[in-house]
């Protein structure tokens, strides 16, 4: 168990790295706007499952990397992610007991919060250039939550990440 715990952070980082890769995968045709925020979903999962490991620090640093990946401005994703993860950490005890559907509702509001923050920051930068499809990932992200949940749960149990 001790050995597993030593390598646990590596597994968490790998899943988050894969989430970042998924974020920039080209979807066929013009369906790219459907691609949900996989990084935030995985961060939420890990912060609910192992809150003593994955906290604000993870959220902030992966937010910074996401900024690097496609933010015009440093700090926007870092800010959004750390706020959402802060919320998740506060509520993780209650959220863990929720059924999946109810969790998904909470995830919806988490994603909405993050997207709202990004919207305000982007809008301050170049006003009124965002299309309505900017909000679609919130919805698809909510629908993808059960998938993320079961996959990462499988990873967590199989690799005994504690």
């Amino acid at each position: 168990m001790l050995l597993n715990n030593k390598y646990a952070w590596g597994r968490i980082v790998i899943t988050l790295g894969l989430a970042m890769a998924l974020r920039i995968v080209p979807l066929p045709g013009d369906w790219a706007f459907l691609n949900p925020d996989w990084v935030l979903l995985s961060l939420i999962y890990w912060s609910l499952a192992v809150p003593e490991r994955v906290g604000i620090f993870y959220a902030w640093s992966f937010g910074l990397l996401t900024d690097m990946l496609f933010g015009r401005l440093f700090g926007q994703y870092a800010l959004a992610y750390s706020l959402v993860i802060f919320l998740c950490l506060k509520l993780h005890k209650r959220l863990r007991l929720f059924p999946l559907a109810q969790q998904a509702l909470f995830i919806f509001f988490c994603l909405l919060l993050s997207q709202l923050l990004l919207f305000f920051i982007k809008n301050a930068q170049h006003p009124a250039q965002l299309h309505a499809t900017f909000w679609v990932p919130v919805l698809t992200g909510t629908l993808c939550w059960p998938l993320v949940y079961t996959t990462l749960r499988f990873v967590r149990l199989a690799k005994r990440v504690k």
């Binding site: 604000i56 990397l65 990946l69 401005l73 700090g75």
Partner: protein, 281 residues
Amino acid sequence: MLIAVLASIALLFVDQKTRHLESLRTTLSLLTDPIKYLVDMPTTVFRHTADSVSSYAALKKENERLREDHLMQQTRLLKLDALEKENIRLRALLENSFKLGEQVMIAELLSIKMAPYEHVVVVNKGTRFGVHPQQPVMDENGVVGQVIRSFPMTSEVMLITDPNHAIPVQVNRNGLLTIAVGSGQTNRLVLPFLPNDADIKPGDLLITSGLGGVFPQGYPVAVVDKFTSESDKPFATVTATPKAFLDRSRELMIVWSNSTPIPLVSKQAAEQNQVLEDALE
């Protein structure tokens, strides 16, 4: 928590107001660039296998076609050379300096998708090859966009159709100057600053005007496809279709424009004059 929020807000402000974070970007790109290449890998592998299993006959056919193309281009280039020389001579007569001569480097697109509401693509050449922001990018048909950020291994190119992009153009037929702004759709540019009585009609070719200093003069940008004048509005509604295959081409050319204008009198001519003067003395 408070630290993270304060740090993010500090970063936001510092990045918006100054350019101090470039070194941090370069360092972090060492972590994110591998992800880009990882996502691109399946496509690259697929193309390589497709290349290596294509038949001898197909390759031979392609080779023949390319050879013919090359011959034709070469002949056209010969003529272009002569025209270029003539142009320089005429410009010299008009006592007008003339910028000419660009260097290009071919960069390949990585098949990854950045933020869907932005028209930004990533190419596989970066600062290691001397790519720097604000360089124009073309394909074989016309202007594609400009480099907005460059990292050691990759750089980001903003397409001319991005809503935040504008490019100074002129109508090839009569030299009318205007600005083409991206519309957010991959096959459309808008020209929002033309008056209702502007001399422009569908089918007109728009070329870069060279004003603004980013794009060299004379490259095709788009073809006007609709002109509607509305009497109750100050400006006409004009849209154009980009010449470049923005969503199809895989190879792009990054251009270094020669910033020193060609002198009015060529060096050889100057030397000859010198020789003549010496002889006369």
